[in-house]
Amino acid sequence: MATQSGRTLGRWLVGLLGLVLWVGDAPPVARAQDDALLAYFRQAKINWRQAEGQKLTIGLNKHPFTESLLPLIPCSTTRAPSSSPRCGST
């Protein structure tokens, strides 16, 4: 992930290894929480892994909306640990 500053800053390379959380090594309690949080995305019946291995370059303005989204972006990839950042709120 690389950042650059400027008036409209933001350029992040996101490795999209599938748009699902990675929960492989999560302890049982964390995994149960993740399952509950992921239920929302599963019900969409979308194959979130269909772009697995592809990369996106995303440009975002400097803005509170994008600043709130940035820490969640790892949640959109299979690289994300399940606990940090918090990928779900109930």
Binding site: L16, Y40, Q50, P64, E67, S68, L72, S89
Partner: protein, 214 residues
């Protein structure tokens, strides 16, 4: 409209106010700078977007958290004020190589669950989705701001708010002409009447150039 006597009078009054009571770096400030300046306690009053309150009320970022009151902009003589609704969006370039991946990302990023997470965990107040805005936890947080004045003001504001922004490719160019005029007045390089008349002529020229005016 730009150099209508009422516009000239108002603009002069407004620029005078900025020069006398506004921030010293007004001419170089972006909206983001203004938001941070208010949060840093460098101003007594600010007129701007309602979502800035998320920054003002964040104790980690703000020196004025818990000390701000919220109210609508008062009406001018004979005027009916309204707020311009802004839009936050994620778009995809037609040159995107991985369109399906980009579309999946946009769906994930704008989903109610992701926006709820962004709001509750990372302060995306006030959120653009009704389902997130009406979430009890979200309402609970926003309900404390300004001793309750924030939500009341925000709801009142939405009664008359409308999309006023024009999504035209020349919008930025035209806005820059107007902003340059304000700078000329601010730095006393021209009177309000002179600067606005000049800006009006430049804008007409652009409108003719792009076929919006004969």
């Amino acid at each position: 409209v730009f150099h209508d006597p009422r516009s000239v009078k108002f603009t002069q009054m407004w620029v005078d106010m900025m020069r006398e009571s506004g921030p010293p770096n007004w001419a170089n400030m972006t909206w983001y700078d203004a938001m941070e300046s208010f949060a840093a306690g460098q101003a007594g009053m600010i007129v701007d977007a309602d979502f800035f309150a998320a920054t003002y009320e964040d104790p980690k970022k703000s020196k004025v958290a818990g000390k701000v009151g919220y109210a609508l902009v008062p009406s001018g003589p004979g005027g009916k004020p309204f707020a311009g609704l802004w839009t936050w969006a994620l778009g995809m370039s037609k040159a995107t190589k991985n369109k399906e991946a980009a579309w999946l990302f946009i769906q994930w990023a704008t989903s109610p669950q992701t926006l709820l997470n962004a709001t509750l965990e990372y302060r995306n107040y006030n959120p653009s989705r009704i389902s997130v805005m009406t979430n009890p936890k979200v309402q609970q947080v926003m309900g404390t701001w300004g001793n309750g004045s924030y939500i009341k003001t925000q709801q009142e504001n939405l009664k008359t708010a409308r999309v006023a922004w024009v999504p035209h490719p020349e919008r930025t160019r035209l806005g820059d002409i107007w902003a340059r005029a304000l700078h000329e007045i601010y730095f006393k390089r021209a009177s309000a009447e002179e600067a606005l008349k000049k800006a009006s002529a430049e804008i007409d020229k652009v409108l003719v150039e792009v076929g919006l005016k004969k």
